[in-house]
Amino acid sequence: MRDAATADERRVETLEINVGPHHPSTHGVFRAILELDGEIVLNVTPYLGYLHRGYEKTCEAKTYHNVIPLAERCDYMGASSNSFAFCVAAEKLMDVEVPPRAQTIRIMMAELSRIFSHLFWLGTHAHDVGAMTPLFYCLREREDIMNLFELTAGGRLMPNYIRIGGVIADLEEGFVERLRSFTDAFDGHVDEYETLLTKNAIYMDRTSGIGILTKEDAIALGASGPMARASGIAWDIRKSEPYSGYENYDFDIAVEYGCDVYSRYLVRMKEMRESNRILLQAIGRLEEGPIRATKPGFVFPPQEEIYTRSESLIHHFMLVVEGVQPPKGGEVYQYIESPRGELGCYLVSDGGPKPYRLKWRAPAFVNLQTLAKMSQGAFLSDFIAILSSVDIVLAEVDR
């Protein structure tokens, strides 16, 4: 029999559970060890690397043009934004100026990728929180966008359309009409999603006040994109450091001040509407002209000329066989606003045809650092909602 003194000694232990790497709600192979006190999360330790594919090392072994399809597979939700970021960096390194038609087409692809990515985020985020219906609606819209991607260069998910100096081929006939019918219908679709979720009492209960990331924490932890804009930081690289002609477009920055999961939802919904606005303006700005710059030795000559002019044939041949020769000792860091935040590419050149060093500044990698801070004191089911609001793509996090 225990006497009274020891019967009062109690030991409180925290529970450690393992979430992932195979888990329906981790959006890929993400693993976290949670320390729980009952159902309250005390500590989150993320374990990454389950999709580490050696991207940066592989890029050192490929020529600049061969890096483009590899880059697209980094953030597979909005694939064109990756090749956009890399091409913008390579163009800065090699001092290539992109013609206006190609800039407009690239903006179309970038904004379509943004809508593409946010739609998938919306579907899976709602699924994590418990609402299964928006997933089917969002994926239906994504099929329309995938039809448009297929028209550009043949790939549904990874169109592989953007090249250093421009794009690979001109838009097909019928692309602009299909894009216009998509943009005309899209605002109505966003209204549909809003009726499902925005004023839904259950959704608001599950996401309001959850996962608070204050403005100071967001800057200290390097958050960018919708994560930062939902904490009141009005920072959008398309506005503050415009690239590829974004300064000519009229759109608003989507900012919310709630700092919680619900604010991130509102920011992304607003961003989808603004992207639609940009698409409509881009259709109007499309002008005739070349779709790739003319810089022999760096940019592929147009396809028609390769078959008719011998200099173009020789330039094409040398580019494929030898590769480009960017200036030795050149280094650039160029960045775009991807659907997740600041997507940057740091290129170091040694004068050879392959990048000496390619450092990919992945926004999802940096935004994921905020997870531990945001989840302290939340319930386990809130942790899932917070994780899905960060909008991670594991291929970008792990590279």
Binding site: H22, K57, R73, L139, L157
Partner: protein, 169 residues
């Protein structure tokens, strides 16, 4: 109405093996093992445009104990490999594996230190679906080929029956 009208007052004669195989292939529940980009095309196959529920497979189970088919969709990195194998071991028999995408078939465009050069080095793969990523139609074609393979299987393993069938006449 329905199929009963054409089957009424009839006797269907078939082998038990055919019936078991038919039941297995018509309700094969996949374990959604989406690792990377191919997972997006796998999800696109599940939803309304390329509807996988016409084949009885829309019930994607998160738990390997309840799944029959593991679709390895995406790159298996070397760090992830132990988890893949442990999940495969937890699946109950009969279990099938589809390697979807170039990375699962052979390592894909990642021939480097961090990627398993094809999960068939460690798992018995039934159907390989190449592509980067393969279209949903390609995944459906691969699944149908797996169904055809299942129909050919010798699924009845009652030793008494196989002994009788194998005994010299």
């Amino acid at each position: 109405m329905g199929i009963e009208r054409s089957l009424s007052n009839n006797v269907l004669v078939t082998s038990l093996e055919w019936a078991v195989n038919w039941a297995r292939k018509s309700s094969m529940w996949p374990l959604g093992f989406g690792l990377a980009c191919c997972a997006l095309e796998m999800i696109a196959t599940f939803v309304s445009r390329y509807d996988l529920s016409r084949f009885g497979m829309e019930v994607a189970r998160p738990s390997p104990r309840q799944a029959d088919l593991m679709i390895v969709a995406g790159t298996a990195s070397k760090k992830m490999l132990p988890a893949v194998l442990r999940i495969y071991e937890q699946m109950t028999e009969p279990r099938y594996v589809i390697a979807m995408g170039a990375c699962a078939c052979s390592g894909g465009i990642y021939k480097n230190y961090a990627v398993v050069q094809g999960i068939d080095r460690h798992l018995p793969v039934d159907v390989y679906i190449p592509g980067c990523p393969p279209r949903p139609e390609a995944l459906l074609d691969g699944i149908l080929q797996l169904h055809a393979k299942v129909m050919q299987e010798q699924s009845i393993r009652n030793p008494r029956i196989t002994d009788i069938l194998a005994a010299p006449k």
